[in-house]
């Protein structure tokens, strides 16, 4: 479907407004955090340094403005549902940043994000379709109850998966940027292939791409800003909401496979949800050479990072580059899945 000038203008605005707001807002906000003594340990430096954080509140403000542009411009309830789920996850994350929540409390509270999101379906049943479309095979039979249960559970699962990808300089910002781009491509192909598909569903992904791109400028190695749990949980919840409203579930799951694997390794090795500050041993340590090594402690959790370091010690920058390669591969497969689903 061809886009009108007004549509293109709104799409540009929903990307540029949050992007520019963050680029302009970050320096004074970082100075404000430093003045207030809100500094987080950058534990993978030798000696450990301090970085201003959490910048989650600024990221959320930018996401809110971006989604408001889409909601008002396209007269759509989709961005409202996304921002409801995102706001709850952001609130849970901020609470964790300020007071530290238990390992099990966080996922339970994050269920509220999913409940808030699907609650809007009572008023707008067309918010999402319960028929998942598979590549080549096409649609499976719709099942609203099971899909809705999975949609609610998706919020804590995806938000926690993003949260667990937030350990090294630039890791979460690269991950959020690449996966949101894969999601955007999937949504755009869905829009191009389906008559009557609401453009607002695609446009809602642009603020996520914008905030991830702007955050990368300040979060890449060496980091000048940390997002905190308020930022990483917000990224995850926003991704989950966009996945459901864009109807690109399979492509989105493929894009975040590195995070799914990382969560699986961590949860299976520590046998349950344990707050990372309370883990008995860390998965990695900094050697005298200043490089990151895989921990040889049997009690240390087996994370994706520990697997990558089994090949030999790496600098933090090289380690994040490897994680970016893994994410890039997953996102390329995700785009391939989207092409197979909506084009071929």
């Amino acid at each position: 479907m061809p886009l009108g000038l007004a549509d293109i203008g709104l799409l540009l605005l929903s990307f540029l407004l949050p992007f520019i707001l963050l680029l302009v807002g970050f320096p004074p906000f970082l100075r404000f955090l430093a003045r207030k003594g809100r500094l987080l340990d950058d534990v993978h430096k030798n000696p450990p340094s301090k970085v201003p954080g959490p910048v989650g509140p600024l990221l959320f403000l930018a996401a809110l403005i971006g989604e408001l542009v889409v909601a008002v411009g396209f007269q759509s309830p989709v961005p409202v549902a996304i921002i409801i789920g995102t706001a709850v996850a952001f609130g849970v994350g901020l609470w964790d940043d300020l007071y530290v929540l238990g390992g099990k409390t966080k996922p339970v509270l994050l269920l509220l994000a999913g409940l808030g999101f699907v609650g809007l379906v009572l008023f707008r049943p067309s918010l999402y379709s319960s028929a998942i479309t598979f590549p080549i095979l096409g649609n499976v039979n719709p099942h609203l109850t099971i899909y809705t249960i999975l949609a609610v559970v998706a919020f804590p699962v995806v938000a926690n998966a993003f949260n667990m990808m937030d350990s090294f300089n630039g890791e979460i910002s690269w991950f959020a940027l690449l996966t949101s781009l894969a999601l955007l491509v999937g949504g755009a192909l869905h829009y191009a292939a389906t008559a009557g598909f609401d453009l607002a569903r695609v446009a809602s992904a642009l603020p996520l791409v914008a905030i991830a791109a702007a955050f990368l400028v300040f979060n890449r190695y060496p980091s000048r800003a940390f997002d905190g749990d308020s930022g990483s949980l917000m990224f995850g919840a926003m991704f989950a909401g966009l996945t459901i409203t864009s109807g690109v579930e399979i492509a989105a799951m493929i894009a975040i496979v590195p995070a799914i694997l990382n969560s699986f390794y961590t949860l299976s090795s520590v046998r349950g949800f344990v707050e990372r500050r309370k883990m008995a041993a860390r998965p990695t340590y900094i050697g005298e050479d200043g490089l990151l090594h895989a921990s040889l402690d049997a009690g240390a959790p087996s994370t994706l990072v520990r697997l990558l370091l089994l090949d030999g010690p790496l600098s933090e920058k090289d380690l994040v580059t490897n994680i970016v390669y893994l994410t890039l591969l997953a996102c390329l497969f995700s785009v391939g899945i989207s092409v197979l689903t909506w084009v071929i």
Partner: protein, 83 residues
């Protein structure tokens, strides 16, 4: 090339995810959807739960198996810290 084994684990993970999700929605969800009696309904619900659990276990077993193979291949030549 050093990342190739991890790429393979990742590729296996998402191929399994696609196949199992399709199997779940196309086969597990419709099981017993036209049952009328309570016993049929209970039986189909239990069957659905069992099949779903089986899919999860299959993913876990394959992932743990591949990861153990990878870890063993990487640590084979590393002397143990206690020796």
């Amino acid at each position: 090339m050093k990342l190739l084994p991890v790429f393979l684990i990742e590729a296996t993970a998402f191929l399994l995810i696609i196949a199992e999700t399709y199997f779940f929605f196309d086969f597990v969800v419709p099981v017993g959807s036209i049952s009328h009696s309570l016993s049929d309904y209970t039986l189909s619900a239990l069957l659905k739960l069992g099949l779903t659990f089986g899919l999860v276990v299959l993913w876990f077993v394959v992932m743990i198996g591949m990861t153990r193979l990878y870890v063993r291949s990487k640590t084979r030549n590393v002397p143990s810290s206690s020796s």
